[in-house]
Symmetry: C2
């Protein structure tokens, strides 16, 4: 705990030497980068040597690094060996071993010096070595002389000590190979906490030996054995990632009750929940047997998961079962509890004691925030910065889980006293899995997770969005080497949807749309969404953020400003020509029927775009009637179809406006 606070202090020192160098494509941008002259060639004779104290973790980390380096360069396993540190190309030294179990706030800093003659990576601990080796991998480039890393001096350390990714494996189960490749991605981006959301209404995903009916009746057979859990933890450990388990309680707990009805606040029987949302099923906080059960269960889990932190969820208790249960109401009165919030606080206090008894520190979502809890509690705020600020002002430590590329220190937290601010540990992105399966989960996490990783690692002044997007693009391709499927699954899914390998008429549309948000998706779903509904629609394949549309919008803005017939103009024309005749009729695919109106809209939008370009090209002002008609057409095309949004409509409207804003007489109206 004290170590964490000291590190936090370090993190908030301003990095005067911070020189973000986007040209290096590093993500997250290191705290300090000084470029040198020339580069260090990386060929088959490249070697890594370990100086300093012998540490099996460092040895293993270097082997993982070399395997990655060989993959990126196509070398044989016989090339690039670990060698004597006096002769090695890259000399690695960690001053101290890490804690046996990775702790919050352990030193992750490193310094990396690369010259044409060799490289040195120094760190206080193996964690710093792991971070520095990822920087080396990211620096690798193909040059005219061969593979190389540029001469550079980097001093680097994280801004926040808690940089996490939560994956919900309850609503859709994710096999361990999916988790492992995502752990590889996390390590690549210097993330250090895998928050494993293991239970929810839709499934209890872990083997309990004390209470086997949890997985036997609560998982449809889709759960991790304890052996697999240990394997995942060991895999994460080698990558400098802590594994924090979450067992959501007292709400979001239907799956527990299928096997153990006696834990619930209403008689049951219970079935595994197939729908999404907030359900009534809630643990009974008034029965001692509930705490006896949790004591044994948490004891078992505390042994299985070595991390110091233990997440008890605690979110979204709707209180309906409590209200309807007269025994529970009597308990409230007998104990002077005013309402359900008080009752949940009572529950949390009891659970906190159990968690603490088993040597762990409790984390919970916003809702656990209640004055009477011990202040080593960590609050994970999914409600935003205000809620986060409130938690740390009450003396708790907090983690932000809200917003993309947002700063945990912006908005309300920006006004915190420095003492309070120190209690902000960092942040986590949450991959809730209502609409995410093993097949598309990577594409929902990556590459955008890299932007969050940068927010949590890099100095606060690293905020250039354009640079971020450029490096994000490069990072996305870099991650392909780790076997992440965010790029490769896209075309596969499109081919399935098209029902043919020729997706030339589908991809241009898929490239410029984005899914509606999950709330809208739920409200407007064509069939009631459940865990049985396949995630094989177009909305499941397309990317959450269209980079084609983003670049298109940038091109529009630059073109409108300059009116030059350059690359931007070309890009616009290319997109319009590719999409002008969008139609899916010839695919004969049931999966594309819902998207036919979308294709028609896109076709119309492209036609409008071409006409607007034509007006601009001729310097002719369109008639007001034309402008009105196109504007109304574009407004229509803004509406979601197949739960997808056409992301180029807004920029096309700007083209239309630019044409309309031209000086001179309006063109003759043509019919």
């Amino acid at each position: 705990m004290r170590a964490a606070v000291v590190l936090l202090l370090l993190c908030f020192v301003t990095f005067c030497s911070a020189e973000p160098r986007p040209a290096l494509n590093l993500m997250p941008v290191p705290a300090s980068v000084q470029t040198g002259a020339g580069h260090l060639l990386i060929d088959t004779s490249f070697s890594a040597g370990i100086a300093g104290p012998k540490d099996p973790l460092v040895q293993r980390v270097v082997e993982v690094f070399l395997a990655n380096l060989r993959r990126q360069t196509g070398m044989s396993p016989l090339d690039m060996q670990v060698t004597d540190s006096t002769k090695a190309t890259l000399v690695i030294r960690a001053d101290h071993p890490n804690q046996l179990v990775q702790e919050l706030g352990e030193d992750e800093s490193y310094s990396l010096e690369i010259s044409p003659a060799g490289a040195k990576l120094n760190a206080a601990t193996p964690l710093g070595i792991m971070r520095g080796l990822q920087t080396v991998l990211q620096l690798l480039e193909t040059t005219s002389d061969g593979f190389a890393v540029p001469a550079v001096t980097i001093r680097d350390q994280p801004r926040f000590p808690w940089r996490g990714l939560m994956i919900d494996v309850s609503r859709h189960f994710m096999p361990t190979d999916v988790l492992k490749r995502n752990l590889d991605g996390m390590a690549a981006l210097k993330l250090n906490v895998f928050h494993w959301h293991l239970s929810d209404d839709q499934g209890f995903r872990l083997q309990s030996k004390k209470f086997p009916k949890l997985q036997e009746m609560g998982s449809d057979g889709l759960y991790y054995t304890q052996e697999q859990v240990r394997e995942v933890i060991a895999y994460a450990r080698e990558r400098g990632i802590r594994v924090v388990p979450e067992f959501d309680m007292p709400g979001h707990s239907t799956a527990w009750f299928v096997g153990y009805t006696e834990l619930a606040s209403a008689p049951g029987p219970y079935q595994i929940e197939r729908k999404w949302g907030v359900f009534d099923a809630t643990m009974d906080p008034t029965e001692e047997r509930t705490y006896k059960f949790l004591d044994v269960f948490i004891g078992e889990m505390a042994e299985l998961f070595p991390d110091k932190y233990f997440h008890i969820g605690g979110d979204e208790v709707n209180g309906k079962q409590w209200d309807a249960n007269s025994k529970i109401q009597a308990f409230l009165r007998a104990h002077g509890l005013k309402n359900n919030q008080d009752l949940q606080a009572y529950f949390n206090q009891r659970v906190q004691k159990i968690v603490s008894k088993h040597g762990k520190i409790m984390i919970g979502w916003d809702e656990v925030l209640y004055p009477s809890l011990p202040n080593d509690l960590v609050v994970q705020s999914w409600r935003g910065q205000d809620s986060l600020a409130q938690a740390v002002q009450q003396g708790y430590r907090g983690i932000l889980s809200f917003g993309y590329y947002l700063d945990p220190m912006s908005d309300a937290p920006a006004n915190l006293t420095s003492e309070d601010a120190q209690r902000i540990l960092g942040g986590e992105a949450c991959m809730w899995a209502e609409y995410v399966s093993s097949e598309n989960v990577d594409s929902r996490i990556w590459p955008r997770m890299a932007a969050i990783a940068e927010r949590l690692w890099s100095p606060q002044n690293v905020t250039d969005i354009n640079s971020m997007y450029e490096r994000l693009e490069a990072t996305s391709h870099w991650l392909d080497w780790l076997g992440l499927t965010h790029n490769s699954s896209y075309e596969l899914m499109l081919r399935r949807i098209a029902g043919t390998d020729d997706i030339s008429a589908l991809k241009p549309l898929a490239d410029v749309v984005e899914p509606v948000n999950n709330d809208v998706r739920e409200e407007t779903a064509p069939v009631e969404p459940t865990s049985l509904v396949p995630l094989d629609r177009l909305i499941d394949a397309v990317r959450p953020e269209s980079s084609v549309a983003r670049q298109f919008a940038n091109s529009v803005d630059r073109f409108v400003a300059s009116r030059r017939k350059d690359k931007d103009n070309e890009r616009l024309i290319k997109v319009f020509l590719l999409t002008r005749n969008s139609s899916f009729v010839h695919y004969h695919s049931s999966l594309l029927r819902e998207a036919e109106p979308l294709a028609n809209n896109l076709s119309r939008v492209a036609t409008v775009g071409l006409q607007a370009l034509d007006y601009l090209d001729r310097g002719e002002r369109p008639s007001d009637a034309w402008v009105m008609r196109q504007t109304s057409l574009l407004q229509e095309a803004q509406k979601p179809q197949a739960q997808l949004l056409l992301m180029i409509v807004d920029p096309v409207q700007r083209l239309v406006q630019a044409a309309a804003d031209q000086k001179g007489p309006a063109a003759q109206e043509q019919e």
Copy 2:
């Protein structure tokens, strides 16, 4: 043994009802297909039921099938369950269980009846069920009504009982996940023998507990544990694939001698071989300790590998160590052995007795063919059909491992008596790994292996090359669902080579080239090829067979014949425009320097092509001088550059010739 012969007889019966239906994209083409009306919808409610005797293998096979079906359709693991056979969409019945260990010649036939109301899959054994379920997966299509399989009646059985793929894991080690995905590919194509080439001069890849120095000193640490071997065998078993191990002896055995010098015919010491080729190191067939060692070793392996067949290699013994060893020469004289061939035959006889003692039947390459061996020996012929015919005429059984999409019954075997012909068991493709790594091995095997699989499974009259190529293309994409990397690794490797994610200037060239053959590659290698040389050149990334060039050539021929400005004409122009300005200078990549002359050649060829099209378009005959100049330029462009061949040169020459063959006066010579 008898069972196998009976099955062979069945296989050679003419399939009068054979109706190859390329429209169905089935590969291999089944023995008999009758299409019906309509289709059977495959949605979340699809279920499979197992009728007949309870068999855990069938249960497991159906689970693997459903997992594949869910992957192809994007369904949840909660969809598509195994259910009561009276209610199931697909009712599966195997009359008998399989042998405990899969045997050569076990019944693999099946019948599949699909109607809009449901489907039935019947087979004598679970092996037939496996084959039939692959047919169901291959029949899946996206229709306007949803996923479906067409109404169809199929009766199917293999032509040959031995349909194999050999993978050399000695020259480049292939981890088990590479093997497993290739086993999935084999199962998809109804192949049934994985021949595992486990030892060679460059590495001994398997853990021996009796002689641990084999892997400890002979593998660079790159070997399979016995646990992993059992895992691979079990994985293969569930897919109806036998696993035949090969330990090459007495030649190709340097890796054995690193740890056990005493086995060799010359004193040593020995190092793991890094180069390719035929080496001197050979076992000493004159020492009893050699046979004692082999007895213990083969005993250990006979227990580990359940298959009845055991491959002892036996190829390419150069005899130099034997010639140079006076003790061995004395042995020859003392035993009346005339030459080294006699000595190897003596060795083979001794080894055969050991193999037989441990309950196995010996296989060897061509060279083991020698009259005095017991006739249960199987000869694997890499020398071709003549050698195969010779083997079976001498009473041995034979497997062909030579030539692509070739028939084991063509050439010399076509003239065999039917009794001799029955001893031809089938064939195997051999993936030798001098120039193949985990990264590109899939692309060297797939999709072409599917054509060989068809040759070995389908009736002899299935020989339509155009249909084959069309179905091969579809099959290639189908295999993507299994995680095979033949398609996905291509762009990754090109990006590494280009040193950037923008491969738009590289891919058009990469798409129309093919590697020189391995002999030429070896002779003209820029640096001596060894196992330490990375396989990251352009030659390692490009496909062994360019489908773009093949389609281009077809388009040329059709265009020359028709002169119509249709799709063929468009295709030619597209290829020419994409490649006319080929140059790699702007990539600044050392890996592309060798290919710059190739890019220049391609650019010139494209220009010639465009000019020839122009002459044809105008109906104008080019001058003789022009024709001569272009012909000479094209001849120059035929020469390999960067060990790659431009596959569109020949067709462009045909365009030039077509232009020259036009009637009328020649055009004015232009300079």
